[in-house]
Structures are given as structure tokens and as C-alpha cells.
């Protein structure tokens, strides 16, 4: 009798806990969660609460080439999920009428934690990033008013927008931009081996640890924190004469000439080509640049303008270990997650 009661209690407990868990698992897929070792969420999420329907609408828009002038280029053309939403095919990416852009398509991941976007940081809010790509003459070449007009004339979109934003009568630009942001916000990459180690669920190998130590000594002053960037604009010595002025375009400050945003290194082994103009095809090219290729100019980062030699001295063994550590930043779950 006593055993039966215990059994019943146990079953009841399981049932209750199952019932409790069911709802959160479904909704938590569509909830922005900040790992405790990440920087704070910057996006004002209260202005645009994420829903399953909003996320899915954003994903549909992200993959819809009708957002471009000649209906040929979707956001996903140059931001391919399998390589952490970068462009492995083209250097630089190709927009409407087969035009080449001037800058390398950056990774889309962990957007909620950033305050400025694009290589020069000209865009100060995630909602406005997609306006840039839609209206850029070499990317999607459209105008925002015309995209709004097109969407209002595609029958399937009206009800989808209405299901996400019930108060609207027709599609307007802020709702288009908010829907895309809902999708982008949930593209959080926090399941790499590095993250498992952070959570105490995995361990680095001896070689990875050696690589981590080198990274901390020689790279982490700029590629710092859980997102592996200090969010600053720096000149890493690619050129001494600048075809692209970089951050100076935004700040109008001569001391920003040739500076670009320090990129996050998450998924770095997947996101070739590298640099703002995609000039390096492999990680070896990148490390070789820091070893031997740094060029002097007046705005060169002080971290790279050593007194004896420009750049970062690295031995071949250090490079091998460094690459093993960088590999731990690859998030295979991120690039294969079904809902993305």
C-alpha cells in the first residue's frame, strides 16, 4: 500500500512537471535569452516583443527576393545560414544586375547585443540595418516605399502581418522592419564548444587551451569578451593608402581613416572570406597578415605597431594551437537549427 502511494506520487510529480515544461519549451524557442556571460541586450525589446509568428514572418521576408529591385536578391543570398549567415561564394557579394559590392557580407549572429552595425558602424539600430541593404544600389537596389507597396500587393503577406501586428490596417515600413528584426534577434550563436566549456559541460583539450592562452596574450585586447570584439573601429594594417575610408565616412574624423569595426570571431572558421573587403580567402592568410603583412599608416592600431616589427609575432606552432582554439568558436547547432 505504502509503495503504491509512493508510485502514484511519483507519477503525479512526473505528470505535473511534464505539464509545466511543455509550454516553456515551445515558447522559449522564440524568446531572446541572454547567456549570463554575454554582454547586455541593447535592442529595446519592449518596442518589438518577439513572437513565433513575428519570427517566422521575418524569416520569410529575409528569404524573399521580391524585396530587391529586380526580384533577384534576398537577404539570404549574401547571408547564408550554413556559414553563419555570411557569403562563401562571392568576394565581395553580388547584388542586383550582378553588381559586386564593395564590402564583405558580415556574419549575422548575436545582433541583440550590439549597438552599431555594418563595417563602419553607420547604422545605430538593428531595425535600420535592413533599410541599408534594401536601398543600397549595389545590394538590393529597391526603395523602402516600393517594397512596402509590393508587399501590400502580395496577397499572402497581408494576413501574415495582421497575425503578428493585429492593430494594423495595411503594411507600413516600421512593421516590415520590426518583423525582420524579430528574426535577426533570435539568431543567437551560443552553442559552440567554447560555450559548453563556459557552462561547465565540456573541457578544452591541452592544445585548445594552449591556443586560448596565445589568443588571450596576442588577440584578446581587440577581440575581447564573450563575442570576441571590443566593438571599436580600428585599422589593422591592411593598407597604407585607403580605397575605402571606413569609419571616417561616418565620423568625418581624419583619425578614423581606414578603420573598420573589429568583427566578432564567433564561427570564424566558417566565415571566409575575411576582412571588410573579403581580401583573405583563408584563416591562414589572415594569420599570415598579422605575422608579416601589417602595413604602416598614421591610424594603424597601436596594438599592431610594435617598436621592433609591425604586427603580431607568432610561431608556426602557436598558429596551429590558435586555430584549434578558434575552431571551438564554431557553433554547429547555430548553422543547423531547424527554426533558423
Amino acid at each position: 500500500m505504502k509503495e503504491k502511494i509512493v508510485l502514484l506520487l511519483a507519477i503525479a510529480t512526473i505528470l505535473i512537471s511534464c505539464g509545466k515544461d511543455d509550454v516553456p519549451i515551445e515558447t522559449s524557442l522564440y524568446k531572446l535569452v541572454r547567456p549570463d556571460y554575454f554582454p547586455q541586450i541593447i535592442y529595446p525589446i519592449e518596442n518589438n516583443p518577439i513572437s513565433k509568428e513575428g519570427f517566422e514572418l521575418g524569416k520569410k521576408l529575409f528569404n524573399d527576393p521580391r524585396l530587391s529591385l529586380d526580384n533577384s536578391v534576398a537577404c539570404s543570398n549574401c547571408h547564408v545560414k550554413g556559414v553563419a549567415f555570411t557569403d562563401p561564394q562571392h568576394n565581395p557579394s553580388v547584388g542586383i544586375f550582378n553588381q559586386s559590392g564593395t564590402r564583405n557580407a558580415p556574419m549575422i549572429a548575436n545582433m541583440a547585443f550590439q549597438s552599431e552595425f555594418l563595417w563602419d558602424g553607420g547604422v545605430s539600430h538593428l531595425d535600420f540595418v535592413s533599410v541599408f541593404a534594401i536601398e543600397n544600389k549595389k545590394e538590393m537596389g529597391e526603395t523602402l516605399p516600393n517594397v512596402v507597396y509590393k508587399l501590400n500587393n502580395i496577397p499572402e503577406y497581408g494576413p501574415l502581418f495582421k497575425s503578428v501586428f493585429p492593430k494594423i490596417d495595411s503594411i507600413t515600413s516600421p512593421y516590415l522592419l520590426q518583423a525582420i528584426s524579430q528574426y535577426l534577434l533570435l539568431l543567437v550563436s551560443d552553442q559552440a564548444k567554447y560555450d559548453r566549456v563556459q557552462r561547465g559541460k565540456d573541457n578544452f583539450t591541452a592544445k585548445e587551451l594552449a591556443g586560448k592562452r596565445i589568443f588571450e596574450q596576442k588577440c584578446a585586447s581587440c577581440h575581447s569578451g564573450a563575442l570576441f570584439t571590443n566593438y571599436k573601429y580600428m585599422n589593422n594594417g591592411l593598407d597604407s593608402v585607403f580605397k575605402d575610408v571606413g569609419r571616417e565616412l561616418i565620423s568625418a574624423e581624419a583619425s578614423d581613416l581606414g578603420k573598420f569595426k573589429v568583427p566578432s570571431l564567433r564561427n570564424i572558421m566558417l566565415t571566409a572570406p575575411y576582412m571588410h573587403d573579403g581580401r583573405f580567402k583563408s584563416i591562414d592568410d589572415v594569420l599570415n597578415h598579422y605575422q608579416h603583412g601589417v602595413k604602416y599608416s598614421s591610424t594603424l592600431a597601436s596594438e599592431l605597431s610594435g617598436t621592433k616589427q609591425l604586427g603580431i609575432p607568432l610561431t608556426n606552432e602557436e598558429i596551429d594551437d590558435l586555430k584549434l582554439f578558434l575552431e571551438t568558436l564554431t557553433d554547429y547547432e547555430f548553422i543547423s537549427k531547424p527554426i533558423f
Binding site: F128, P174, S181
Partner: protein, 291 residues
Amino acid sequence: MNNINFFYKSKNLLPILFLLITTFMVSCSKDSDSNEPGDIEIEFDNIAIVNGVERQLTLATSGSTDYSYTNGKGQDFNINLLRYYITNIKLTGPNGEVFEDHIHVDAAGTEGIYLIDEANPASSSVILKSVPAGNYNKITFTVGVEENGVKEGAAGGNLDPATSKMFWNWNSGYIALKFEGQSPVSAGGTSGTETLGGVTKGIAYHIGGWKDVTGTAFVYNNKTLSFDFDTNAKVKKGQQPTVHMVFDVLKLFTGKNTIDFTGNNNVHKPVDGKPAAENIPTAFAFDHIHQ
């Protein structure tokens, strides 16, 4: 002295005294009725002062070579488009009256952000509601949209970039003032909303730049301006005064800096817009009040 004695002595005057007090109380309560908040209209008239004569603006159709205006360099021009944002309106009065217009920005719309568009006559009238009763003799406002309008993200209403066409995508933020037209001295090649590349003599001045970061060279072109009225605007329930402000478009090109239409006449960056932006403060003026 005599009066007091008079009251003390004439007890039959008490009813009159009572009536007097009652009347006083009634009129007091009438006074408090009229102390309820009211509305005030701020009218922004775009004008051109030519040889001391104030003229209403006329917009030319894009491509027209009919030039009605002349800049400080003697260069003729016409106007195809004139649009600007007025935000952060504040009224103050001689007795400590203060009214600050509420700003709210979201996807559904905006409050406290006004887009004055010469092509849309209704847009020149800004009606401020629920202004505390009192006298106001000073207005402060910002030409342009400040950080509080940008950092909220995608916005509708007057800020909707698809309808306002007052948004920069590459250096995200709202254009404070947009002027487009044509001048025979322009070499062309300009781009804009009305004055497109095909318009050979185009001039386009898109003035913006809201990033005001201390210690950096970011070009901040929004202008916060204050004007004293020559008389009080009396606000109370049922009485809506109109404050007439004027914007002299000719002064956009003269004042602190003399703008040359043969120079950089295709302005689309904060740094390029700075000379014309510095003329904005003297282009606006208080004109008169209709009580």
C-alpha cells in the same frame, strides 16, 4: 475707520455683505473654469524675403527652368521640395509657465514630431493640446530629430521613412531639413527625392546629423532655437492663440555662410551639410501672434 463703524452700526446691511461675498465667490469659481488647459497653434510659414518684401513660397515642378529666387551670390534658383522636422517644442511664460510637448515614437505613430512640408499646406500648422492656461512669451524647438527619436527603432507616423523620405540608411538617422531645387549655375549630377539625376541643373541640400558625441568630430546639425514673442500668447480653454513663425528659405543660403550653388550642391552627408545648417538659426524668426 468710518466704514468699519458704519458696518458695526448698520446691522441691516448684513444681507448685502452676504451677497457681496457670494458674488465674489462665484466670480472666483468662474475664474478657475477659465484656468483649464487650452490649445495653442504654432504656424510655420515658409517665405522668401525679397528686397524687404515678404513673399509666400511657390514650389516649381521638377525640371522647371522658371527661377523665382536669387541667393546671396546672385545665383538664380527655384525650389522643388522643402521639408523639415520640428521637435521638442517648449513654451515658457513670464510667470513661470512651462509647457513641454510630449514626444512618443513607436511603429504605430509619433507624437511631438512634426514634419513641415511645403507641398502639404496642412503640415505647416502644429496644434499643441492641453497646454496649461497662462501667458507664454517664448518658444524653443529643435529643427531635426534627436537621439530620443532614433534610438526607439523603426517608427511610423511622421517618422515612417517610406512616407517621409527623410531618412538616411547608410548613416542611420533622420534628415533634419531637405531642400531641393534647380539653379542655372549648377553643373547637375545631383540626386534627391524630386531633383533626380535626370534633372540637369539640380541642387540638393539634405541636412542631417544627430550623433552628438562629446570628444568626437561627429557633425551634429540639429539646431535648437529659442524665440521671444513681442506679446504674450494667452492660453486657456476655449481660446486658441496662433503663434506665427517664419522660415526664410533665402537665409538658408546666406548668414553665417554664403552658399555657392556652383560648389558642393549635392549634399547628402552631415559634414557637407554643416555650412547650410549653420544658417538655419537666422532663417527662422518669430513673426506675430493672433490672439
